[in-house]
Amino acid sequence: MANMTEEELKIEVKVAQEEVRLIKSKFDFQVSELKEEVSFLKEKLMAQQDMLKIAIDYATKLSAELKIFKKRIDSGNFQSTH
């Protein structure tokens, strides 16, 4: 290193700078891909949560309606639909 000429040193610095640029570009790409994947997973999980909420709300409504129907059957106050 001590015997390097100024020109050689400049070339070495340039090579090192290029390596840094390549590594940075690689990491930037990987971070961008990960960001996209995280954003996809987040949106998917939220949609999944909404979908399950819709199903739970429906099951709760159905359960309440069945309770009312059972009461009507028990009381004998119902009309056959057939």
Binding site: F40, E43, A47, M51, L52, I54, A55, Y58
Partner: protein
Amino acid sequence: MSNPDEQLKDKLILHSEEKHAKVSYVDGKSVAIVEATSSYIPIDEFKKIFTSIGKLVNEKRITKLVFDKRALTVFHQPSMEWYFTEWKEEMFHKGLKTHRKILPDNKVFKQSVKIGREKIKEENPTLKFNEMDIQYKDTLQEAIDS
């Protein structure tokens, strides 16, 4: 297609492909096919895909759309709202009035789709729903042929 064992007598031509879905059309028929290739389609991509199908409807005079949802596990109500209230209405006026759907074998998914659709119908009583020919099929060939 979702099921690699599924044999088709029709020739499909790929129109466009995104990360989570792809669009094809059937050679010699006015049928387009949108196939989900992942468990979920983000809303932005969903809109992009269907906007591209809109262009295909114009170019190829598409009258039937097959939506193959077999790869999906998650249903997204806001995407469906846009699909029903905006996209389908616009396409109806362009002549796309026949829809065939292939659903995944997933009870929660199927029920959520049904409830979601009913909710949209209730909130939008003037939509062209009842004038569209919508049927559910088990295979792609059945969907193309029916």
